[in-house]
C-alpha cells in the first residue's frame, strides 16, 4: 500500500487503475466499521441466538445451514468497498472483533475468518473486481460457503465419513448463497438507498441500476 509520490494524490478520485488498488482512508475506516458492527452482531449471534436455534442441527452435517450469517461481512464488505482485498479484510476484522469480544472459540474464529474471506475474495478477483451485482454476490457467497464447508467439514469435523463431508459442504454452500449472497446484496442495496454509501461507487451506482 505505498502512496503515490505526487502531492495531488488525496482521496477522492478512484477512477484510474492505480487509484482502484489504493484504499482511501474512508475505505479502510468504513470497511473496519462494518466489520466491527458485524463483530458486535456475531457476539450477539454466537452467545445468545445461535446456541438457542442451532440445537436440533448441532453436531449434524446440516449444521452449516444457519452458518451463512458468519459469511455476510465478506460479501457485504466486498460489495460496499469494491476494492481488491475488501472481502477478505472485512471478514477477517469481523472475525477478530468477535474473537476479542468473548468468543469461546479463540483463534479458530480468526482462522475461519481468513478462509471464509478468501473464499469470497477469490470470486471477486475472478470477476476482475468489475462485477458487483446480485450474481457476483451469490457466487461470492458460494465461494465463502465452500471455504467454510471445506475448512469445518474436513478440518474441524475430520472424522466424518466422506459422504457426510460432502453433505456438510453442500449445506455450507447453500447457506453461503442464500444468507450471504442474496441477503447480503439486498442489504447493500438497502444501505445504498439510505444514502450512507455516498462516498463509494456502490452508493453512486444505485441511481443507475
Amino acid at each position: 500500500m505505498r502512496s503515490p509520490q505526487d502531492p495531488t494524490h488525496p482521496s477522492n478520485a478512484p477512477t484510474s487503475r492505480i487509484r482502484r488498488w489504493r484504499w482511501r482512508t474512508v475505505d479502510i475506516v468504513v470497511a473496519s466499521v462494518l466489520a466491527v458492527a458485524f463483530g458486535v452482531l456475531f457476539a450477539v449471534w454466537n452467545n445468545l441466538i445461535y446456541p438457542a436455534i442451532s440445537g436440533p442441527l448441532t453436531g449434524s452435517p446440516a449444521a452449516p445451514l444457519i452458518g451463512g450469517v458468519w459469511l455476510l461481512p465478506a460479501v457485504v464488505g466486498g460489495l460496499v468497498i469494491r476494492r481488491p482485498g475488501a472481502a477478505l479484510y472485512t471478514e477477517v476484522v469481523a472475525a477478530t472483533v468477535s474473537m476479542l469480544f468473548g468468543s469461546a472459540w479463540g483463534l479458530s474464529v480468526f482462522l475461519s475468518g481468513v478462509w471464509q474471506g478468501l473464499g469470497a475474495e477469490v470470486v471477486f478477483a475472478l470477476l476482475a473486481y468489475r462485477r458487483w451485482g446480485v450474481v457476483a454476490a451469490v457466487f461470492a457467497g458460494a465461494g465463502a460457503g465452500l471455504a467454510m464447508g471445506v475448512y469445518e467439514g474436513f478440518v474441524l469435523n475430520a472424522p466424518y465419513a466422506w459422504d457426510w463431508k460432502i453433505v456438510y459442504t453442500l449445506c455450507a454452500i447453500t447457506t453461503g448463497v442464500v444468507i450471504a449472497g442474496v441477503l447480503g446484496s439486498v442489504l447493500v442495496r438497502a444501505l445504498a438507498r439510505t444514502g450512507v454509501l455516498a462516498p463509494f461507487a456502490s452508493g453512486r451506482a444505485q441511481a443507475e441500476v
Binding site: M1, V29, V30, V44, A104, G106, A161, L191, P199
Partner: protein, 272 residues
Amino acid sequence: MDQDMTLLQTRISIDAGAPLARRNPVAKLAAAFVPAVMLLVTVDVVTAGVVLAAAVASVPAWGIGWRALFRRAWPLSVAVVTVAAGNAVFTGTKSGTALIDVGALLVTTDSVGVGLAAGLRVAGIALPGVLAVLTIDPVDLADSLARQLRVPARFAYGSLAALRLAPVMAAEWEILGRARRARGFGGDRNPVTAVRVFGGRVFALLVGAVRRGTRLAVAMDARGFDAVHTRTSARQARFGRADAALLAGSALLTAAAVVLAVAAGTWNPILS
C-alpha cells in the same frame, strides 16, 4: 487492561501484571497459533490432551480467574460435547462393540473414541487462543501488528479506530432494541415477526455504523492520517527475551505433545 472493550456482561477482571499477560500481543497470538495449527493436522487424544492440559495449567500465569474464564468460555464446553457427539455418530469408523444400534444410527466403542478425540481437539485448538485474546489490549495489538508484523499502519490503526466504536455500537444495539420494544416490536413469540424485527434492528445498526465511519474517516484525514510521509509511533511495542521464550516454550510443548502421541501410537494425521 482496558475494560471498556468487553461486551454483553462478559466484563471480567484480569491481572494485567501476570507473567504471561504482560507479553507482547503478537508473541501471545503466535504462541497460541503453534499448537492450534498442529492440532488441525491431527485428530488424536494424546496430542490434544497434552495441549489442553498445558493450557489449563497455564491459566493462573495469564492472570485470569477460574470463574472469569468459565463465564467467558462456557459455550466452548457445550461445543466440545456437541462436536464429540456429532463425530461419534457421523464418523466412518464403526468398528468395536456396538453401544447404540437403532435403525441407521450406529454408535460403537471406537466411534465414541473418535468423537472424544474430536471434542478434545476442538478444546485444545480454542483454549490457548481464548487465554491469549482475553489478555490482549486492542491498542497494544495494533502497535504490535504494525511494528512486529509490519502490517501497514493505515490498516492497523484504521481498524483500531473502528474498534473504538464497538462499545458505542453495542450500546446502540441495546438502544435500538429498547426503542423498538417501546413501539411494540420485539418480544414476539411468532418467529417470522421476530426475524423481521431483528433484521430491522441489524439494518439500523449498520446504517449508523457506516455513517459514523464516514465521519470518522473525514476527521482522520483532516488530521493527516493519509499522510504520504514517514509515520512515527507514540508507543513502542517491544518484543523481548521473555516474548521469545513464550514462543519457544509453546513450540517445545507442541513438539513434546506430538512425540508423546507418536510414542503412544495414537498419532493420526487427517490426510493419511
